[in-house]
């Protein structure tokens, strides 16, 4: 109240009227914009419902509870054609999330290695990565996906003539089939042992760092860590009598049954996305490293650090602050580009949604769901990266 009085008094004092008050104006503009957008959306929604009613087209989201009736080849959760359209969408969404998550992790690793290799003092390595980056950055992604897919599909034999590349691991045009261990209760104790090993490793690393700061003596933390993480589970495994039954893939009828089978479509999509996006990531990493002044590297060298240590302890921690913001965009585009799966027959979210759109004819509802879901995924990735960015940002005092 007091603020209002002062504001209007000031307006009056300046010889103006209330509409000259910048705060009133900005509020007015904001209310006006919201009203216009709301009116437009309402107009379009009304228009659509009238048009659809006139043409006798079904509308609403009720179809999500109806039986889907179509089969999906790759499902992480139990799914059959007797399940609902809603569950089918969930199956597609999970497939998309898996591709996006695995893709982002692999892209980060591969892209960072490529980016470092781009700056290598080795001429051959530098040239190879330069060509790699330029080729993958400058050809359309869909084309690359189709090429990967065709390569996997055509170069591999049919399931009856599958290559056995390692015992019980088969490659055919149906994908990569490999065995997985059958669950045994000793395995849970192995996991526990491994977790304890990881905790011990963290303690050892802390102790080693403190000792090095105190005395300058170094400790082989990595070797000790590997020993601590690997040996206890191995001991538990042997103590339990080595219970390892493998669920092996075997040719039964047309296809491999048992084990885990990675389809050529999934592999092509993952390879394609990782190969393409890591070319962009490589450039981001290169520019990030080059943003750290050369003097830092020279100073670190003068202190007697080895090349790997210079990179790990001096250059990358500073470069990462430059790298994180553009990396967010790369993660976002990888996730969204995974929708190109439609072109090569992988049952991702868009592929399932497209099928539903056509089986139900409810294009507007399905497209609304599509947009809402991709928006949610993208905003979640953005939010996570912003938190990480804040955590990594230079704390200025």
């Amino acid at each position: 109240m007091a603020v209002d009085v002062r504001g209007s008094l000031r307006g009056a004092a300046l010889g103006g009227t209330w509409w000259r008050d910048p705060r009133v104006r900005s509020l007015g503009y904001q209310i006006g914009s919201v009203a216009i957008v709301t009116a437009l959306v309402a107009y379009f929604a009304h228009n659509a419902s009238v048009n659809m009613a006139r043409q006798g087209i079904a509308s609403g989201f009720g179809f999500l509870d109806r039986e889907a009736g179509f089969e999906i080849s790759t499902a992480l959760i139990p799914y059959s054609p007797a399940d609902t359209y809603g569950r089918a969408l969930l199956v597609g969404l999970l497939n998309t999330l898996v591709v996006a998550a695995v893709g982002c992790v692999l892209t980060t690793i591969f892209g960072v290695l490529l980016g470092i290799a781009r700056l290598s003092s080795n001429w051959l390595l530098r040239q190879v990565t330069l060509w790699y980056v330029e080729i993958f950055r400058n050809t359309p992604l869909l084309l690359q996906l189709v090429v990967w897919w065709d390569l996997l599909r055509i170069s591999a034999p049919g399931p009856r003539d599958a290559w056995q590349i390692l015992p019980n691991i088969f490659v055919s045009n149906r994908g990569l089939a490999y065995p997985v261990p059958v669950w045994h209760e000793a395995h849970i104790w192995m996991l526990v042992a491994m977790l304890i090993g990881i905790c011990l490793t963290i303690l050892v690393a802390r102790w080693a760092r403190q000792r090095q700061e105190r005395t300058g003596e170094q400790f082989h933390t990595i070797l000790a860590g590997i020993g601590l993480v690997v040996l206890p589970p191995l001991a538990v495994f042997l103590a339990a009598g080595a219970p390892l039954d493998l669920d092996k893939p075997a040719l039964a009828g047309f296809n491999f049954q048992g084990g885990v089978i990675i389809s050529p479509e999934f592999a092509a999509l993952l390879f394609g996305l990782v190969a393409n996006t890591s070319a962009f990531v490589a450039e981001i990493v290169r520019s990030g490293i080059q943003a750290v002044s050369w003097g830092q590297t020279e100073a670190a060298g003068a202190l007697g650090l080895r090349q790997g240590q210079v990179l790990r302890l001096v250059v990358l921690p500073q470069a990462i602050r430059v790298i994180i913001p553009p990396m967010t965009s790369e993660y976002l585009s990888l996730t969204k580009n995974s929708s190109l799966a439609v072109g090569i027959g992988f049952a991702d979210f868009v592929s399932v949604a497209n099928t539903e759109m056509n089986q139900t004819g409810q294009a507007i509802e399905v497209i609304t769901i599509l947009m809402a879901v991709y928006l949610t995924i993208s905003l979640a990735i953005s939010a996570a990266m912003n938190v990480y960015n804040k955590y990594m940002a230079l704390v200025e005092r």
Binding site: F44, G56, I57, A58, F70, F254, N255, G361
Partner: protein
Amino acid sequence: MTSLKLLGVALAVVLGAAPALAGPTLDKIKAAGVVTCGVSTGLAGFSMSDQQGNYTGLDVEICRSFAAAILGDAKKAKFVPLSAQQRFTALQSGEVDVLTRNTTETLAREADLGFNFAPVTFYDGQGFMVAKKLNVKSAKELNGATVCVQPGTTTELNLADYFRTNKMQMKPLVIEKLDEVENAFFAGRCDAYTTDRSGLAATRISKAPAPDDYVVLPEVISKEPLAPAVRTGDDEWLHIVKWVVYALIDAEEKGVTSKNVDQMLTSDDPEVKRMLGATPGMGKSLHLDEKWAYNAVKQVGNYGEIFERNVGKDSPLKLDRGVNALWSNEGLMYAMPIR
């Protein structure tokens, strides 16, 4: 591309910017001087375009007969190739006037999508094609198979139903583009390819590296009545599409062909005279020229001629008339009386 197109069409519905919805379809066609038909993106015998862009096929000729009946010229037909996923939104939004695109008539498509189907122009059924070297003799032996199929089709649903009913497992490989599905099958990515049996025959003849290496299994797992479809809400247009198809069938039954249609104008059969406009009235009822059926039969041919030329004994597909014979020859083709 497809999603963009679908999105565009959905937007057109949202914005109400589809002009075709404004007035009756017949007026629009007369004003434009062209009938726009949605056809398949390439299915031998039904709709294929050659290198010069000339379309051939049964669906294509049905569309040409509409152009002949309405505009007096079979050449005034325009073809819009549509994928299985694009076809319905294209019709809903008015991008095409009629779908003549090997589309199965179903309850949900009429009731939920807002369509009306005209009389069936081809009675089909879904089947499976496999490579001969697999030594499969029956679809019942397909347990565990990977099956190539196009998304958004009745085929995709029938496939799931058939395996469910027979307690068998399968993995679908779902690709929208017909060419890609066929390539995947012939590259051995799938054990079986499923679609309508006429489509299987067409694919085997026109796309297989060696047609004799592939067999179509004997099982027919569904009924697929393929019929032209129009939007609901324009009865005048529905009547025209419906009765032109009937006229083609009726012409075959009465022995009226593209060659003898001029002599038939002086036929003694009153129904033939009504149909061909020698006795006026029928054309007026449909809001068409009295020569509507005469033009369709003269320029395109009767149903039997269209069938034999495109999918029957005069075509590479060499399909039997089977259930597509006239009712008088123990088939299902039965035209309602023109009177």
